[in-house]
């Protein structure tokens, strides 16, 4: 099997970006990725675009972004809800390890503010089972995760205060990441006093609506070594799908799809003990409760003990399991289709030791992991990256 490595990365500023169109926003990630790699568009043999859409006007974003950025090789759009970016990464990655393609690009882009907020809230709420959950019961996206939060807090004696610890950490790293949507620290009071959006989840438990783009260029091992001295390899991916109906999930204290995706990724990469194998975890903290469940689903904490990692500060950049050193979805922002690629960009940056001061992790194991969930555990993608060759 060929290996594939990241040889170029690009990342737009995340936030409310009414200064740019979806194509211009994508360019803000594509251009630096090309610059970073020294490649030109003609070198890119395939581009996959992670995007959910609906809130923005372009029905075929892979094509409009492709035209705007000067690509004309093969392409497709991928959708795996909030894991659409990791799905695009899979397409680019498989294109290369299959031997079909030498150089491919995975772009994630989402332009959510092109629709008014209520429309966006409605749209995300529809991302489950439409008739049985939305049509009849008007579930929202925070509502789905709130069902998990209620059960988790009850079962494991955790509190809304505990969840705020995740939010505070996220905002801390957001404040150190120039591309983050929120760049201010928050206090305990800011979080605990914020208004409920879907009880027991509050505004500060929730990632924001975000416009943003990110891009990575992948190349086969041989080619990668000619392009860069710091190729960041993709060692393996794992993936799984959960039920569309939340009522068909086994329990509400963890995401079964995450667990299965992680197991697959660990097996494929030959990881025995995830607790001892990674310098950094980029986990899907669309809500604070999601970060806690991720710790457990990834095997970093026993069932019900994830919240303990937060209490002990073990997931800060200098802790035992550095997690979301870029502010995570919560503070960096969560432009749906871009999130998975943004995670890959952050990991490449960190493994290259290029992150901003105060958030650069210690790279000793040379390995990092991204955990990207689509919907409410509808999809899960876990990707393992390494610096060594």
């Amino acid at each position: 099997m060929n290996r594939a490595a990241i040889v170029g990365i690009g990342h737009s500023k995340f936030g409310k970006r009414m200064d740019v169109s979806i194509n211009e926003l994508a360019w803000e990630a594509v251009k630096p990725a090309l610059d970073d790699s020294g490649l030109s568009q003609n070198d890119i043999e395939f581009h996959a675009v992670g995007n959910l859409g609906f809130w923005s006007e372009e029905l075929l974003p892979a094509v409009t972004v492709g035209e705007y950025c000067g690509f004309n090789s093969g392409s497709m759009k991928t959708e795996a809800a909030c894991a659409s970016g990791s799905a695009a990464l899979k397409v680019a990655y498989d294109s290369i390890i299959s031997g079909n393609t030498k150089i491919a690009m995975a772009i994630g882009v989402e332009k959510m503010y092109n629709s008014p907020n209520p429309t966006v809230i409605e749209l995300i709420g529809r991302a489950g089972n439409y008739f049985w959950e939305f049509e009849n019961f008007g579930l929202t996206f925070p509502g789905y995760y709130a069902l998990y939060a209620t059960r988790y807090l009850n079962e494991y004696n955790a509190s809304e205060y505990d969840l705020c610890l995740a939010s505070i950490k996220a905002h801390h790293y957001g404040s150190l990441n120039p591309n983050a949507q929120f760049q201010k620290e928050i206090s305990y009071e800011d979080c605990i006093n914020s208004k409920y959006i879907a009880w027991p989840l509050k505004l500060y438990d929730s990632s924001p609506i975000t416009d943003g783009a990110a891009a990575v260029i992948l190349a086969s091992d041989k080619v990668a070594k000619k392009i860069t001295d710091t190729p960041i390899y993709i060692d393996a991916q794992g993936y799984a799908t959960g039920s569309a109906n939340l009522s068909r999930r086994e329990d509400f204290t963890g995401l079964n799809a995450s667990k299965r995706a992680a197991e697959m990724a660990y097996k494929r990469a030959g990881i025995d003990d995830p607790k001892k194998s990674f310098d950094l975890f980029e986990v899907h903290d669309c809500f604070t409760i999601a970060e806690v469940m991720a710790y457990e689903d990834l095997g970093l904490a026993k069932k019900g003990k994830g919240v303990q990692l937060l209490r002990e500060g073990q997931t800060y950049h200098d802790g035992k399991f550095p997690t979301n050193s870029d502010g995570g979805l919560k503070a960096k922002g969560h432009p749906i289709g871009a999130t998975g690629i943004s995670m890959a960009v952050e990991i490449a940056k960190q493994l290259r030791n290029e992150a901003e001061k105060g958030r650069q992790v210690k790279v000793s194991k040379g390995r990092a992991l991204s955990h990207n969930v689509g919907g409410t555990g509808h999809y899960a993608y876990v990707t393992i990256f390494s610096r060594s060759d």
Binding site: M18, D19, E57, P118, T119, I121, E122, G125, N129, Y130, F131, W132, E133, F134, N136, F137, G138, L139, T140, P142, G143, A146, L147, Y148, A149, T150, R151, N154, K195, Y196, I197, A198, W199, P200, L201, N245, L246, S247, R248, F252
Partner: protein
């Protein structure tokens, strides 16, 4: 400066959803019954009901009425609502586990949100919505 072009075109999406294969379920609602589909071959019960059993690939379905007795597994209160539910006051969404082992997601009709707790007993009943159609919801049974 953010210059915005406000769309002159509008697209309204309002779906027409075929339910013919599970029409027994809706007939049941009209008669006050909440039904699930059950595979004749492997006895798997489906709720939401579905017309095919993926378990045994080749399969026949029969309809069974669900008991209404449930235990609350988890819940939330929707404070920030989608546009098309704005007319409703804050509503409680719960997942209840029925005696049969099947779980049902629906609203819980309850006056005092403070009385809701995991493990509480609920009953499931048919309700008619103001949009003039039948659906189901839980109410407290303790």
């Amino acid at each position: 400066m953010d210059e915005i072009f406000f769309d002159k075109r509008a697209l309204e999406l309002k779906y027409q959803m075929p339910l013919g294969k599970i029409s027994e379920f809706f007939k049941g609602l009209e008669n006050g019954k909440i039904m699930a589909s059950k595979c004749v071959d492997c006895n798997e019960i489906y709720f939401p009901p579905q017309a095919n059993c993926p378990n045994c690939i080749k399969s026949k379905i029969e309809w069974v009425e669900l008991s209404s007795d449930a235990i609350l597994e988890t819940y939330t209160i929707i404070n920030v609502k989608p546009t098309s539910f704005l007319k409703y006051p804050d509503y409680v969404v719960v997942i209840g586990k029925l005696k049969e082992g099947v779980k049902v997601l629906s609203w819980l009709e309850i006056d005092d949100f403070k009385k809701i707790r995991i493990g509480m007993k609920m009953k499931l009943k048919v309700v008619k919505r103001e949009e003039n159609y039948y659906t189901y919801e839980f109410y407290p049974a303790e």
